[in-house]
Amino acid sequence: MSSASLTILIADDNNTDRRILSAIVQQEGHKVVEATNGEEALERFNESVPDIILMDALMPKMNGFEASRLIKQRAGNQLVPIIFLTSLQDASSLANCLESGGDDFMSKPYNRVILKAKINAFGRMRRMHDQLQSHNRQMLLEQQVAKTVFDNVAHSGCLALPNLRHSLSPLAVFNGDTVLAERKPDGGISLFLGDFTGHGLPAAIGAMPVAEIFYGMTQKGFAMEDVLREINAKLYTILPTEVFCCGAMVDLDVTNKMARIWVGGVPSVYLYRGDSGAVEKVASSNLPLGVLPSRRFSPQPNDYRMHNGDRVFLWSDGIVESHNEAGELFGEERLDALFTHATDPDRIFDDILVAVDQFIGGSRPDDDTTLLSATMVDLDVIGLPLLHSNKASIGGPMDWQMNLQLGPQSLGAFNPLPLVLNILTEVEGLRSLSGHLYTVLAELFNNALEHGVLGLDSKLKQDSQGFAQYYQLREQRLADLTSGQVCLDISHRPLGNGGELTFEITDSGPGFAHSHQDLAYLTDNPDYSGRGLALVRRLCDELDFNDAGNRVRATLCWPRPAWSELHLNG
């Protein structure tokens, strides 16, 4: 290792000493640059960028200590080893050499063998440092590319909606944090906050498939459980055992005013009531994603009623676990106090960020303060989503009909809506209407299933207790279902310069004619259950029920006026 040629700056005011030293160094094959005082040393340093500096301590104009300080300052991240050459012998002078930026010292007169050895050792150290620097530059470059790719994948969603707020530091992805939001075809919003174990690229890499699956399936109208199942299966397959994803997912149904919440491994999701200021905590009751094999993973989200102005807050453990210089944790009490003392709900989000920032003061957070919140609003605040399709086929099928009959087993285990929506959007003219179509289809299908086949009474949903009971009953009856069916008859025909789509949905139930008061109730209390039906009526050209009330027929013609022209509140 001794052979590599270095440029060595020798600063010594004593001509004899300097020439002797210069001769020794040159004999070793190194190039020498000479200086006779500190000022000159500084100038030579700027001109010739030496690899190692041999510096006399006491020199006129500027001594070696001062020159070292300035050179080290200028060198910045570059390692420029400085070896002091000194006739001083006392400990405090030698210590001063190191404190002013020197890396080593040698006492005069020089021992030639030791001098050679030191030059070689510092030469090695410098090469290692250069290598490290170059690896570090390479890593930063790679991270930048990775981050750009990640941003393209992960931030294609709807985080910019006016009712959403999020905080995610620019390089949080390398802390394993990710925040995603996407519109559902029915106009709702799906939110996901994830926190992968570990740091750096291993933590960031899992976020890619999560984002792909989340966006792809949410846009197609898959239920939260299906999306979570798919993410879990993917992560379980591709990630090593010790890497997994703590996360929370929230579906906001802006039409029926509810939130479906799943929490697996991150701190409780907070549900903040806009009118009372009360907070309900939805604690993690699931293992993180990517831990269990598919056959054992069974996501069980809970449903909550949400009035306009109610909010959900999702976070990684970065908030409660951020700590101050004394090592104290921010903790749940401080977080809760922010909610208790909030005077303006709009400010809570910023208050949290400011409070955490003030709390940690000068100390750097271990994790990132990743935070996501959403406010329940009416659909007209955020509009129906424009879901773009990448398919390029023109026209598509125009004259066709299909029939899908679902028996009890299928009703319990299969959501036909994504499949049907997929077929419908093969018709070029219907593609931009997938939001409309999904809303109509979902509302009518769920009515047929819940009221027709399962015999659930929508009056139950009047208060929040009944609301929970309703969905509990729904699940239970669906699991116990042994008979009954829902038929979907769908047809399309060309009409004018567009087409006409007809849905006919028939259920095996007795029909709601047995309780006309139900229908009256729906009309009188749109706030609870009639919203859906009222919306469907506005989205369709025709909507009618048969006499018994177990068959509904909806017709939609396209091209259609834009959403904004539909007068949502009319």
Partner: protein, 101 residues
């Protein structure tokens, strides 16, 4: 942090004691302990009485141990957790995979 292992008298069980912060820095040490343990170990006890904190990397290490110990057929107890440690285990619902006592 330090990790130490104490086998029981007949060598079929082992107690792994964690001291201090249980985080990524202990990855190597923790792994070596269970990989170097006798092959006929059937039961593992993780003693957290001296553990002050664990992070998500530590949870990952527990999963590695679980795989090593036979996955679904493994027998791993996590004992003497302080409140912070217990909370982290419960948020992650690791009670579904380990016996937390």
């Amino acid at each position: 942090m330090t990790v130490s292992a104490i086998p029981n008298d007949n060598g079929t069980e082992i107690t792994i004691k964690i001291t201090g912060r249980f985080d990524f820095s202990s990855h190597q040490e923790f792994r070596q302990i269970y990989e170097n343990a006798a092959p006929d170990i059937q039961g593992y006890t993780i003693d957290m009485s001296e553990a002050t904190y664990l992070d998500s990397s530590a949870l990952g290490m527990l999963l590695l141990l679980r795989d090593h110990a036979g996955g679904d057929n493994s027998d791993i107890r996590i004992v003497n957790c302080n409140e912070d440690v217990r909370k982290i285990l419960s948020i992650s619902n690791f009670g579904q995979l380990f016996r937390i006592e």
